[in-house]
């Protein structure tokens, strides 16, 4: 289910958070679906259970999941507010990529049509 890059400089718990978020955003983990237990993930991935707990704790703090005492962690309903921090980060990443794209001679129109294509795809996905 997950592939962690142990050679990456990105901390394992952040990698885990990112992958879980992707699964939730793409709806592969659906609302109210139970997440794998800390024990199972630790066994499956051979990583420190404290690291997994930390990733779950952070995801809960950011509102992506909720936990039921004695039962485990579940996917929370997706919210669109409170993503400000993440949006700002993504914007900065985009800025870097777009500047390089334009510097290497990519055209602005290409980018705009790309965005439109993605937006249409998202909408169709919702139907």
């Amino acid at each position: 289910m997950f592939t962690l890059d142990t050679r990456s400089r990105v901390p394992i718990y952040e990698q885990l958070m990112d992958q879980l978020k992707t699964l939730m955003i793409k709806d592969l983990l659906q609302q109210d679906e139970q997440l794998p237990s800390v024990r199972n993930l630790a066994q499956e991935l051979t990583i420190n259970p404290n690291t997994i707990q930390k990733a779950y704790r952070e995801l809960e703090r950011e509102g992506f999941i909720y936990s039921v005492p004695g039962k485990g962690s579940f996917v929370a309903p997706l919210q669109n507010d409170g993503n400000g921090e993440r949006l700002e980060m993504l914007r900065q990443d985009l800025e870097k990529i777009v500047s390089e794209f334009l510097f290497l001679g990519g055209s602005k129109d290409d980018l705009i049509s790309l965005i439109q294509k993605i937006e249409v795809g998202e909408k169709e996905g919702e139907k």
Binding site: P11, A42, I47, N50, K54
Partner: protein, 301 residues
């Protein structure tokens, strides 16, 4: 779970451990790192109740360790050189452990022996170093410890066995809240395994911290300027551990919060600016460099 306060240990004219205080939380995997001869093995042997310390206090689960059989029932130590009774096989040793450790888990012993394809009747002294280490892991894990003290534990194990041993240990951490303190020089490996680290140097502990926290407040900056700002003016706003100039690129190791460093550096209009987390190896090198144990250029004659 493990508490050491102001511990001192002296061998003749060598102060091996000096005024050392350390804490390990229950269920944590604590990586003990340090320069060669820093006193790691001595400290581990003190924690395991093998050495008597000169002064200070060591407690595991609020009880003393040295000469305390009750504590030692649940605190197991794997030394860097595996040691077995003379002329014994794995089965002989299991018989001995069974007598000593009341929680001995025969089912687990059988399962692990089979899983790691060990011949339980072969004399242990005739096995390779790696096989001997495997044997000590099997024996130790079968005694169902609450605390494991490991000295360079994965040394000599091949990557396949290494991964499986770690996996078995991690399951005990998740299930039973097993607490570990592990010394190692393999920082790459410790980085994924531990959640807490302590760095020893000259018998003392430089610091101990949550590994992720440690990584979030020390950063590597790679910056290139079209117009190089005045060095002192630029660096004065940063807590610099290390500064290097390679061509037009500056390499700076700084302490501090990302949210503060980013806007500060941006305000100088860098042409290229990357902020990277440090690897444990880099943290180790720069922290020890800070106390005079740095990498010096060596050109061999």
């Amino acid at each position: 779970m493990i508490q050491a306060s102001a511990v001192n240990k002296r061998f003749d004219d060598l102060q091996a451990v000096e005024d050392l205080t350390l804490h390990v939380k229950k269920g944590s995997i604590y990586g003990l790192l340090g320069s060669n001869g820093a006193g790691k093995t001595t400290l581990l042997k003190i924690l395991a109740g093998i050495y008597r310390y000169d002064s200070g206090e060591v407690k595991i689960a609020d009880k003393p360790v040295f000469e305390t059989p009750d504590t030692k029932q649940h605190v197991l130590f794997i030394p860097d050189q595996p040691h077995f009774l003379h002329q014994t096989s794995l089965n002989d040793m299991a018989g001995f452990y069974k007598e000593v450790y009341t929680r001995w888990n025969e089912k687990r012993f059988q399962q692990l022996t089979k899983h790691f394809r060990m011949n339980p009747d072969k004399k242990l002294t005739r096995m390779s170093k790696g096989m001997q280490r495997q044997a000590s892991f099997i024996l130790t894990l079968s005694a169902m410890p609450d605390v494991l003290i490991l000295d360079e534990p994965f040394d000599g194990l091949d990557p396949v066995v290494r991964q499986q041993m770690k996996n078995a240990i991690l399951q005990d951490v998740a299930d039973r809240g097993l607490t570990l303190i592990v010394s190692s020089h393999n920082l790459r490996e410790m980085e994924d395994f531990c959640d807490y680290v302590g760095i020893m140097h000259n018998g003392g502990l430089l610091f101990e911290r949550d590994l992720d926290e440690l990584k979030t407040d020390i950063h590597k900056l790679q910056i290139a300027f079209k117009q190089l700002p005045e060095k002192d003016a630029f660096l004065s706003g940063l807590d610099v551990l290390h500064y290097e100039k390679r061509g037009s690129v500056l390499l700076i190791i700084v302490k501090g919060r990302e949210e503060e460093i980013l806007p500060y550096v941006q305000s100088f209009n860098p042409a290229i600016f990357d902020l990277l987390p440090l690897t444990l190896e880099e943290i180790f090198i720069y922290e020890l460099g800070g106390v005079g144990y740095e990498i010096r250029n060596l050109i061999v004659e």
